[in-house]
Every structure is written in structure tokens, then in C-alpha cells.
Symmetry: C2
Amino acid sequence: MDDVAGAIADEVRREILTLLRAGPLPAGEIAGRFTISRPAVSRHLRVLRDSGLVRDELVGRQRIYTLVPERFTELAGWIARFTRPSGWEQRLDALATEVHRTRRDRSRGTDRQENTA
Amino acid sequence: MDDVAGAIADEVRREILTLLRAGPLPAGEIAGRFTISRPAVSRHLRVLRDSGLVRDELVGRQRIYTLVPERFTELAGWIARFTRPSGWEQRLDALATEVHRTRRDRSRGTDRQENTA
DNA sequence: AGGAAGCGTAACTGATGGGTTACGGGTTTG
DNA sequence: CAAACCCGTAACCCATCAGTTACGCTTCCT
């Protein structure tokens, strides 16, 4: 999962994965759809290979890359733990608890300002 | 989604997110749970903030960080396009895997090879 | 064979990023 | 007001990385 997140974090690699969604492709075919050099694409393919998101197979003098959908599931599961807000409805209570850690004092009126984009 | 993947790609940031899953925390409290320096954690928090995965709120002289679960959904959706119809939260795949490869066709006898694993 | 095609790798470079220490600005508290 | 506290930012160092060109290996075609 670790490597998977890193692999997905790159735009070129995401596009490669999207390309492969239609079916397996040889390295040259993949590289041909990008403006960057073929070795650069080759290294992106290596990252994807190491992450396990794609698998390669030598067919003659071509190297065919194939998607490995199972590999996505692990990361999807990790993310899923955050998508559902499970049950901490007492966000202010928890906050108050943490504030008490540093000042075990009686509280006064608490101003609060927000800073959110 | 772009920034989200990059934010998740780091181990420290993943741990911060996991911490925040229990509820909001001030920056100092978060930093206290890591061996790395507080400014280092502060920069990780900035990355998470910019990615939109967390939101900050000034309370007195503390800066409280809160998880933003909605932000995970976008990336989860992108990843879901690659997961096989294994059957947990995946919609039924109404799309057949069209293996149409736009092969660059030379004017000669076109070696063709289909490869699917 | 011999040459062209397909790909990965090596070597190098500029950009990026995570770590640190030093510092400044806002907020309570005495 | 001054001191202590919380926290982000600036300046800096070192490791990593994405991009390039040059090269070597293997495979297909004539």
C-alpha cells in the first residue's frame, strides 16, 4: 500500500494507469502517448511495476504491461476507513479533553476563529 | 485528488491522519507523538492542510486540526475505477473490458499479438 | 549475418522535499 | 508590561527524483 500511494501520486503514472485500463500495452506504445522521453516513461513504468500496480510480460522484443486491479484494493481499503465518519460526534468534547491536557485550569469564554481554505 | 494522493504517500502523514481519526488534535499534541521535530510535523500538517484532508482552526493559542472525511472520497472514487468487481462496495460492472488496442500500424504486415493475463 | 526495432540501464543534472535549528508573531498568565 | 507558551516560517543541508542523452542487450526481418 505504501508504494501504491506513491505511485499514484504522480500525474504521468496516473495517466499510464488510465491508459492501461483499456487493456495491456507495450512500453513503446505507452511512451508514444507522452511528450517526455521514452526512458522517462520507462522509469515510471518501473515504479508502477515495483508498486505492483502493473505486471510486465516479455512478448518477443516487446514488453507488455498489464494492469493488476487487485493491487488497488489494499489502498482503497485504507482510504475507506476515513470516508465514513464512523462515530465521533463528540468532536468538541474530545477537543476539550485535549485542551485540558495542557491547562488543567478552569475555563473562560473560548473565542474561536477559523482558518480554512 | 492530485494533492491528496501525494499527501497520503508519506508515512508520517498517514500516521497523523490515523491519529486524527479519533478526533481533533492541536498541533503540539500531534507533534508530541513523533520523534521528529515539531517544525517537521508542522510542515507535514501544512501539506495535509493544502491537500484538504484536514482543516485547522485557531482556538486561543492552539491550532486544532480536524479530519475532513469528504476529501478522501474523491481519491477513493478514482481508485475504485481500477478495482475488480470483487464485490464490496463496487458497483456491478456494466462495461465489458474492451481490449481495443489502437496499434500503430505500419504499412507492412503488422505483427499482431494479443496478450491478456 | 547484418541491420533495424524495442526497451531497459547507466551517468549526469536541475528541481523537489524532508530533516534540522533559529527566529518571530499572536495568546495567555502573573 | 513581561514572561512563558504554542505554532508557523525562514534559512540551510542532504537525500531523492524526474528528466535528459548515450549505450547495450535482445529479437525480428531481409
